[in-house]
């Protein structure tokens, strides 16, 4: 039987974390070990985790964002003996069969398998808008996306962290997620890195998890609230960096000017308040993206 290690990243959401852990403990497929990355929590999480001996806990002093959390969690898992790493957030509540359905699919695939992601619902049973996979008609320009759809599997170029089963061979091959991203686009980049390395990525329609956020929404810069706008510093910087990485500096320079110009223009047309604040964020992240140079770290075997 293939061995699975679950990784949960948490930050100051104690009551959700307990629900998330309870759901993992009820899985119908056995889990070898649960790793909890305590990403600088300052609430009851710290004291509670200190009294648990069922999990392997990784303490990080300061919050390193989701990217840092998944980096540390996957790194710790990858140094152990197992076959699959199952990652999720602290607000991910899995259905009992979520892992079993993912694991049942793996043997159906011929070829190198990189990851399988679950379907992510909001509280009302609708798909969560933050966690929709990216599907192209022909996966990696080679396999039709529907090649395995009789098994409720669709080939996907990228997937979110919110219930993602990673093949350890792929992790050891492509390295760890960029911890420097802090958050946003880290999952997109990491899963794309895996598929671009020649591994197949899948979205599994019958493995279901609840992403227990207050609202079901996908961040939208133009209509964002002033309290949330700081997040785009990371969002834009990471997005722009990925463009630079895949297309090279010359293309990137032209693209960035067009992108910043267009986004500013659209912003001024759409929103009437805090325009300067929003454009300031856009410009500073564009500037940062020119010099942002995180390096991929490989997994070290113990």
């Amino acid at each position: 039987m293939k061995e699975v290690i679950a990784v949960i990243v948490t930050y100051n959401r104690f009551s959700l974390l307990k629900k998330a852990i309870a759901a993992i403990e009820k899985q119908t497929y056995p889990i070898k070990e649960i790793i909890i990355v305590n990403n600088g929590s300052t609430d009851e999480t710290v004291a509670w985790l200190a009294n648990q001996n069922k999990f392997k806990v990784i303490y990080i002093k300061e919050n390193t964002g989701a990217s840092g959390g998944f980096y540390h969690g996957i790194k710790a898992a990858a140094s152990m003996k197992m076959d699959w790493i199952w990652v999720m957030d602290d607000d991910t509540i899995c259905q009992e069969n979520a892992l079993k359905f993912l694991m049942d699919k793996a043997p159906k695939i011929h070829g190198k398998l990189g990851f399988i992601g679950s379907r992510c619902n909001w509280r009302d049973g609708e798909p969560h808008l933050m966690n929709v996979p990216n599907i192209k008609p022909v996966f990696n320009k080679a396999i039709p996306f529907n090649y395995y759809d009789q098994y409720n599997l669709l080939l996907a170029e990228s997937n979110s962290w919110v219930s993602l089963l990673l093949n350890i061979d792929a992790v050891r091959d492509v390295g760890l997620p960029y911890k420097e991203f802090f958050f946003w686009s880290d999952d997109l980049e990491y899963t794309q890195r895996i598929t671009q390395a020649g591994y197949m990525g899948f979205y599994c329609t019958d493995s279901i998890v609840l992403h227990d956020t207050d609202k079901n929404y996908c961040p939208d810069f133009y209509n964002e609230t002033i309290n949330n706008v700081w997040k785009y510093k990371y969002g834009f910087r990471n997005e722009f960096f990925l463009k630079r990485k895949s297309k090279g500096y010359i293309y990137f320079a032209f693209w960035l000017i067009a992108k910043v110009g267009y986004t500013s223009y659209k912003l001024i047309k759409i929103r009437k308040d805090h325009q300067f604040k929003f454009i300031g964020i856009l410009f500073s992240s564009a500037w940062e993206s020119i010099f942002f140079n995180p390096k991929i770290e490989k997994v070290h075997l113990i």
Partner: protein, 298 residues
């Protein structure tokens, strides 16, 4: 019972057509009518068709696939079909292809524009010419996977190789452009339907065989010379769509860049018949500037 009319378009492929018609007649859920549009076949198709019972035959000049689907869909709507089930003469349905599409429709209490089958090749793998287009957010509103528990995916476009189209949508958006002749007509038409606010679906369980000689997706850079003429239509239609969606000024700039980029890529990738291929590209670019088909309504 749904009032469904099947539409098959054919041109000089009598053996395949016989198989396709037999498969439609053997459906566990029967369409009310079968229309076959004969695009000026010269191989005895016309005589064979005229001796069939239970098939409504329309003979016309060869107007390409687009002209065939135009005529077929138009006739089906005028014969009061509620749904029109469209396919090519090399589409061999399984027995329950239509029944499954209808069953899925009944699960949805929504304004469905179309629902397409899974299209496979002889070896059982998906056919590369008939893959739907999926965006994470359908029409920028609904996640594509909202109905995947019913094994249905929301899609922006689908091919004409087994698709069930709602006649209400046809009445609202009009008929396919017959002037496209071939290629791009199905994409344009299904996108027109989804953009008008109807849901478009891909159904994983309704399966048809697309019986082509090879399973391939036409690739301009690597295509062979006998197939080259088709790209005249492919490019012209593709460029026309950009003109239609983005406006003339954007289109002209875009066209210049596109033609230059495609030429350079062609010169790098292929070493033979370069001039022939470039000529097709430039010709269709020029044609697309003046190509202005109008939508006909029923």
């Amino acid at each position: 019972m749904y009032n469904i009319t099947a539409v098959i378009v054919t041109n000089n492929r009598l053996d395949l057509l016989k198989e396709a018609v037999a498969a439609v007649k053997a459906q566990t859920y029967q369409p009310k009518q079968i229309i076959v549009v004969n695009n000026e076949s010269t191989d005895g198709t016309a005589e064979w068709l005229d001796n069939q019972t239970g098939v409504h035959v329309i003979h016309q000049k060869n107007l390409g696939g687009s002209g065939g689907f135009f005529t077929g869909i138009k006739s089906a709507v005028s014969m009061n079909a509620d749904w029109i089930w469209v396919m090519d003469d090399d589409t061999i349905c399984q027995k329950d292809t239509l029944q499954i599409l209808v069953q899925k429709l009944e699960l949805l209490n929504k304004p469905v524009g179309f629902i397409g089958s899974k299209c496979i090749w002889k070896d059982g793998s998906p056919h590369l010419m008939n893959l739907p287009a999926i965006m994470p957010s359908f029409n920028k509103k609904i996640s594509f996977n909202k109905y995947d528990d019913k094994r249905l995916l929301l899609i922006e476009t689908n091919s004409f190789v087994s698709i069930l189209i709602n006649s209400k949508a046809v009445k609202k958006v009009g008929l396919p452009y017959k002037e496209f002749f071939i290629w791009g007509d199905d994409q344009e038409y299904t996108r027109r339907i989804t953009k008008a606010g109807y849901l478009g679906f891909y159904c994983m369980d309704s399966i048809v065989l697309h019986k082509t000689g090879v399973n391939y997706f036409p690739d301009f850079y690597r295509d062979n010379v006998p197939n080259l003429w088709k790209h005249n239509y492919g490019f012209r239609n593709e460029f026309f769509m950009v003109k239609k969606n983005k406006g003339f000024i954007f289109f002209i700039f875009w066209l210049v860049i596109k033609v230059i980029y495609t030429s350079i890529k062609l010169l790098i990738i292929r070493k033979d018949d370069q001039l022939k291929f470039l000529r097709v590209l430039f010709n269709s670019a020029a044609k697309s500037i003046f190509f202005n088909p109008k939508i006909s309504y029923v």
